[in-house]
């Protein structure tokens, strides 16, 4: 059963949206339909955070609990709001009294021109909803997606680090149970849809509904977080005719573990699986913390990052290096392939009509395996990689020392698709690592790739860095075996 309405809480008020173009972003909706101008448009591309709002949603892991997530309203379509509570900067004041997240910014002189400020307030609000005493690292992680051009950030960091423990319960805490109850009611509603300006949106609730929707409308555009797709609308003025939202599909939004694998639903946001991956592969977890920013990781998904087949997505090379697989689904039929085999050419994949990515399976590590990941970008936070290198190395100790018995060197940003380096791998496979061997592998890499020059980096830089990362990996492996560990990464310096 499908009902043509999107229902959500606008702060505490139940709102129905009908007859609105589903290409409308939450930011446009707030400013133009609700006449709420506190949320600002800085870039309309999810890069500056001025439009940050907070969504509260029922926590599937802990029933009766809410999760508060900061998101970029400029690249979120209105249909995605269904079943959630939308909180904007206007909702934080309690009568005349500023919220902790607001008052601390005032007290620390953390606003100058004030245009980015509502976004910082909302990111800080979301942070404090789950962490009343955040440390500096946690503050930086929560606010990395908010740009300020005036303050230089010190005052903003000081404000966000101010403990909210002693602060009286805010209005959201006071209305907590009501909100949970209201959202639980919304969960029971039929499958929501939205039609406006002749364009359609539907949010299937389970995998069968999704498969059927795609069989019926094979030209539908799948949207999960929409962090990339929405740019087509806001930047290139594209109009998407039929949107199918994956975020409500139960089977696509779970994470499961078996003895040998981690199985991640294609439409599960990064922030919901980062901890698990960090546990098994610390360097992968650290890299994910540098994908987009908090707002992007709260909505962006693994399926989306792979699905759009961008040559600069950060997850595909990591998954290729890990030998991860993905399960594809079409009309009840499923197949599982290596992530590595998914990419055909620039933005071209093996995905068939009506087929979608259901899940990604990542093998758990075993003894002797190492995963090294390097993300190279101009800016450390919230930047697209010039080069992303992911090295999976399995070594066996025999009488003569360590020998590489399995190796996958995968790169992003080096070719039209994320890709392994067969020549460099061939040099290393079956050998014991040495300085000379690394030099040979670096030379071989030059035959594996002919990278491009673009706005982010020159071809020469990309190749030089890619080669040097093999050397760095070697030095780090040496260092790990040595007694005195040498620092090799500037990102480890606070």
């Amino acid at each position: 059963m499908v009902e043509n309405t999107i229902k959500f809480l606008l702060n505490n008020k139940l709102v129905n949206i009908e007859n609105l173009d589903p290409n409308t972003t939450v930011l446009q909706y707030l400013r133009e339909e609700q006449f709420k101008s506190g949320t600002k448009e800085g870039c309309a591309s999810g890069d500056c955070g001025a439009c940050t709002v907070v969504l509260a949603e029922l926590d599937t892991e802990n029933s009766g609990q809410l999760k508060y997530k900061s998101i970029n309203s400029c690249i979120t379509f209105v249909g995605n709001l269904h079943g959630k509570q939308l909180i904007t900067v206007e909702d934080l004041k309690d009568g005349a009294k500023l919220h902790h997240a607001q008052q601390t910014l005032v007290d620390n002189h953390g606003s100058q021109c004030g245009f980015c400020t509502p976004g910082f307030v909302m990111s800080s609000f979301a942070l404090h909803k789950h962490n009343k005493t955040p440390n500096r690292a946690e503050v930086l992680a929560a606010l990395a997606g908010n740009l300020c051009r005036c303050t230089g950030y010190r005052s903003i960091i000081a404000a966000a680090m101010t403990s909210s423990e002693a602060v009286a319960e805010d209005s959201f805490a006071q209305h907590y149970q009501e909100t949970v109850a209201a959202l639980s009611e919304l969960e029971k509603l039929p499958t929501p849809a939205l039609t406006g300006n002749g364009h359609n949106f539907i949010a299937p609730k389970n995998i069968d509904e999704l498969a059927t929707a795609l069989i019926n409308e094979p030209k539908s555009t799948l949207v999960a977080g929409g962090t990339d797709l929405a740019l087509a609308v806001t930047q290139n003025l594209a109009i998407i005719d039929k949107l199918v939202y994956l975020g409500n599909v139960a089977e696509l939004t779970t994470i499961k573990e078996t003895d040998t694998e981690i199985i991640i639903g294609a439409a599960l946001p990064y922030s919901d699986f980062i901890d698990t991956l960090h546990h098994y592969y610390p360097e992968l977890g650290e890299m994910i913390e540098r994908i987009g920013a908090k707002q992007v990781r709260n909505t962006g998904t693994l399926g989306g990052n792979i699905g759009n087949a961008s040559p600069i997505g950060d997850m595909p090379p990591a998954l290729i290096a890990l030998g991860a697989t993905m399960t594809l689904h079409v009309n009840g039929q499923e197949r599982t392939i290596l992530v590595e085999d998914y990419f055909v050419d620039y933005k071209k994949t093996v995905l068939k009509t009506s087929e979608f990515i259901k899940s990604i399976q990542i093998p758990k590590p075993t003894a002797g395996q190492t995963l090294k990941i390097y993300k190279i970008s101009k800016r450390i936070d919230d930047d697209i990689s010039a080069v992303l290198a992911a090295f999976f190395i399995e070594q066996e100790v025999d009488g003569k020392g360590q020998k590489i018995i399995n190796i996958r060197l995968a790169f992003g940003g080096m070719a039209a698709i994320p890709k392994r380096a067969p020549a460099a791998e061939a040099v290393l496979l079956g050998k014991s690592l040495s300085k000379e061997l690394v030099a040979q592998a670096k030379a071989a890499l030059a035959t594996d790739f002919q990278p491009m020059s673009d706005v982010r980096a020159s071809d020469k830089y990309r190749m030089t860095v890619a080669q040097n990362l093999i050397e760095k990996c070697y030095l780090e492996l040496q260092s790990a075996n040595a007694r005195a560990v040498i620092e090799t990464r500037v990102v480890n310096y606070a």
Binding site: G152, R154, L237, D381, I384, L475
Partner: protein, 804 residues
């Protein structure tokens, strides 16, 4: 009246008493002596702070739509240089929602809106000179429909040869304004006669302003053919003049209202006007209100940036490293039109000395014309680009002589009584830089950290650390003399509340609260009783742009003058009514004391009103002492200098070129601070913005002249993690400006921007360590990881060659 400041006691305290940690900024802020109820010297919060955090501060785009409001967009040139053969706009006109389409043919008045010199057509006239130049304008019923409609135009061009590099412009002598030289003595002979000679060159990149609020204006037609303009502009009076000129109506029919900007940084000094003019033209055509808001990418493509520069030098110096003679050539990439480039390249020339005595000097500045967007004002206004050369020279000399660059910087500082005349013949007075540097060297533990870093670098093969201390001396005043004036208007109402207007614009820098503090100080009333509203051209006319760090200096004095006028009337009234001497009338603690009687300020204004005293006054100020004769290159262009210094420590990765700034210590002289919290905010913000300019903010144009870094996904300003974890900012204590500025304060908007040069020099220091500090690495800016890696490779190659 007690004297607020004892100028004789000017002295920089001993270094150990200046040691102020970043974490104690708060105590510094709170600890400032409250010199009066009005609160000059107090860290009052920004007057809009509560509104900022609540989402209640209204920017132009947040204003409620006016009845019938339309939205504008413009068609953009696809070529860098071309004649327009024809424009077929039929599909644009027929597009959904389009109400009006105009070209330059439809402009009733002036078609050129160049701010100083002609050259900036409001809409293209027969030819285009950069990719993105506005060709025609559309008014439609929504922002979205307007943006869609402009894409439907069919334009035929005849492509012309484009000049897209500074080298090409120099070869062709393609200039927007004639070259200019400042000269003192015989530099060629001095260089030749010196013990050592060096030469070099550097490319200094430009910078996108990236104000968080993009360009936006709303034009509302009024009766009598007039126009009300709500705009995000640093220069309302110029917007008023240009709107009047394009519409061919007198200035008194145009009202410009500017409540606040979401950042300006110079990007809204001249280049906000075009969008206001286009909105006004469309509003005039349709007789409906028109809003023109630039989408971020359009803003980045269609508005000018900080000028990229390509500079070179030849220097002669003695065995100690002291400069004896120097030739510097600065070549500014001005883009296609003059805009403010004449004054910007002048300022680059004025600051080619930074803090150092150049002795025999020849400084030449070229204003290169390229087929890119017209570059414009940006915090520092050419000064930063000028300083880069001399700071590079300091490092080059140091490496050549095997000395610490700090030693070379110190030995070349301007003297107090001699070696104190600039290459434009202004005497550097009240120079406190050697004290500032000594103090900072001690408080930042420079020497101990220098040793620790050398040791770290010896023990680490991949990561290297670098350290650098650089000073800033920045000239304060518009170098165009007539701009150094300001007006203000103060009203006192019968309940004792005060309304304040001045010619300056609030872009986040805290100008309004500072000026309100000054007025509050004058009347000794609570600053919260003073309302500050929009800068409006009908309240304060003929205002200068809020630029050149001059906002508080000029408008603060003007507002003080207005307040003093009213205050004198109140004193005269008191004397007459209560038969007392003027000396028996005091303003204290929100009261007026008249002889033995005391009235609340509100009561007394009520009495004055009943006594028919005018409670409203204008005020005016013009900066004294300044003059400059461009024909001889001599004069005193600056009323005074703002000074400061920074020490930055960085770490770099020699395999990838990645880096981080680990710690920065700043000591800045802001004179007697009117508001320490606001000043510290300006210093921190300017430093980080400067660091972005020199590190990650890379403007990339392709071979056709198209800007590729045209959105925040490809153009990276500093994010929160880029702020040094250890960031210590201090103000020089007890340092009233010895020139008679407002409350002896000093300007703060621009000077600390250039303290970020310490980060660039520290990166070079780290790279230099690879060859045992024998090489001065060439490092163009922005010093992206890519540039750092290639500089590392070059130094490694030199080290290897030397080892053979």
């Amino acid at each position: 009246m007690r004297s607020l400041i004892n100028v004789e006691k000017f002295a920089v305290k001993k270094a150990d008493t200046l040691k102020i940690q970043s974490n104690t900024n708060k105590s510094l802020i709170d600890g400032q002596k409250n010199v009066g109820l009005g609160g000059v010297g107090r860290s009052k919060k920004h007057d809009s702070a509560d509104k900022h955090v609540a989402g209640e501060a209204i920017y132009v785009d947040d204003r409620p739509s006016l009845r019938g409001e339309l939205h504008a967009a413009v068609g953009q040139s696809a070529y860098a240089h071309a004649n327009i053969i024809s424009m077929d706009l039929s599909a644009v006109k027929a597009a959904t929602g389009v109400i009006s389409v105009i070209t330059v043919e439809d402009v009733p008045g002036h078609t050129d809106i160049g701010p100083v010199f002609p050259g900036d057509p409001v809409l293209a006239i027969g030819k285009v000179e950069f990719i993105g130049q506005p060709l025609f304008a559309v008014a439609a019923t929504s922002f979205d429909l307007a943006r869609r409609a402009v894409k439907l135009a069919k334009i035929d061009y005849e492509e012309l040869e484009a000049v897209l590099t500074v080298k090409d412009a120099l070869a062709k002598q393609n200039f927007v304004r004639p070259p200019f030289t400042m000269k003192r003595g015989d530099s060629d002979a001095a260089i030749k006669g010196a013990t050592h000679q060096l030469s070099g060159e550097i490319n200094v990149g430009g910078q996108e302003h990236f104000y968080l609020e993009g360009q936006v204006s709303t034009a509302e037609p009024t009766e009598d053919g007039g126009m009300n303009i709500f705009t995000s502009s640093q220069h309302p009076s110029e917007v008023q003049k240009l709107v009047a000129e394009v519409l061919a109506i007198p200035l008194n029919k145009v009202l410009v209202d500017m409540r606040r900007m979401g950042g300006g940084f110079g990007g809204k000094e001249t280049q906000a006007a075009q969008w206001a003019c286009i909105a006004a033209l469309l509003a005039n055509e349709t007789k409906r209100p028109v809003k023109f808001k630039l989408a971020r990418m359009d803003d980045m493509i269609m508005t000018g940036k900080r000028h990229p520069f390509e500079n070179n030098y030849t220097v002669g110096f003695d065995a100690q490293g002291q400069i004896k003679g120097i030739n510097i050539e600065v070549n500014g990439n001005c883009g296609y039109s003059p805009d403010l480039s004449d004054a910007i390249v002048d300022r680059a020339m004025f600051h080619s000395d930074n803090a150092y005595y150049l002795d025999q000097a020849t400084i030449t500045g070229n204003r290169c014309k390229l087929n890119t967007v017209s570059h414009t004002a940006y915090r520092g206004f050419g000064g930063p680009q000028g300083m880069m050369t001399i700071e590079m020279i300091m490092d080059d000399i140091a490496r050549h002589l095997g000395k610490d660059p700090l030693e070379i910087r110190k030995i070349n500082l301007y003297g107090k009584d001699d070696r104190n005349v600039t290459h434009y013949h202004q005497t550097v007075e009240h120079n406190n830089l050697s004290e500032i540097i000594d103090s900072l060297e001690t408080s930042s533990d420079y020497q101990a950290r220098r040793q620790a870093i050398t040791e770290f670098n010896a023990n680490n093969t991949i990561l290297k650390k670098g350290l650098s201390l650089t000073p800033v001396k920045f000239g304060i005043s518009f170098t165009v003399q007539h701009l150094n004036q300001a007006g203000a208007l103060v009203h006192i109402y019968t309940d004792g509340t005060i309304h304040l207007s001045h010619g300056g614009t609030e872009m986040g820098q805290g100008l309004n609260i500072k000026v309100a503090q000054i007025v509050a100080e004058e009347f000794q009333v609570d600053v919260d009783t003073i309302a500050i509203s929009s800068a409006r051209t009908d309240k304060v006319p003929n205002s200068s742009p809020t630029a050149a760090s001059s906002g508080t200096d000029l408008n603060g004095k003007a507002a003080q003058a207005a307040a003093k006028t009213i205050k004198q009337r109140l004193i005269d009234f008191a004397c007459e009514k209560y038969q007392v001497e003027a000396g028996q009338v005091h303003f204290e603690n929100s009261n007026v004391i008249v002889g033995e009687q005391s009235f609340s300020f509100a009561e007394f204004t009520q009495l004055a009103y009943m006594g028919r005293v005018s409670l409203s006054s204008t005020g005016f100020y013009k900066t004294p002492k300044i003059h400059f004769d461009r024909a001889t290159g001599k004069g005193r262009p600056f009323f005074y200098y703002a000074t400061g210094a920074a020490v930055s420590e960085v770490i770099i990765d020699t395999l990838t070129g990645e880096y981080k700034t680990l710690r920065t210590d700043i000591l800045q002289d802001v004179g007697h601070s009117i508001n320490p919290a606001i000043d510290i905010g300006q210093i921190e913000g300017a430093f980080i913005q400067g660091m972005g300019w020199l590190t990650t903010e890379e403007l990339v144009w392709n071979e056709q002249g198209r800007l590729l870094s045209n959105n925040p996904a490809t153009y990276k300003i500093p994010a929160i993690n880029d702020t040094p974890a250890d960031f210590r900012v201090a103000l020089v204590p007890d340092a009233p400006n010895r020139e008679h500025t407002i409350y002896n304060s000093k300007a703060v908007g621009e000077p600390p921007f250039m303290l970020a040069i310490s980060v660039w020099a520290a990166l070079k220091d780290a790279i230099s360590s690879i060859n045992d500090y024998k090489t001065s690495p060439a490092l163009d800016t922005p010093a992206t990881p890519e540039r750092v890696l290639f500089a590392v490779a070059a130094v490694k190659a030199q080290a290897a060659a030397a080892a053979k």
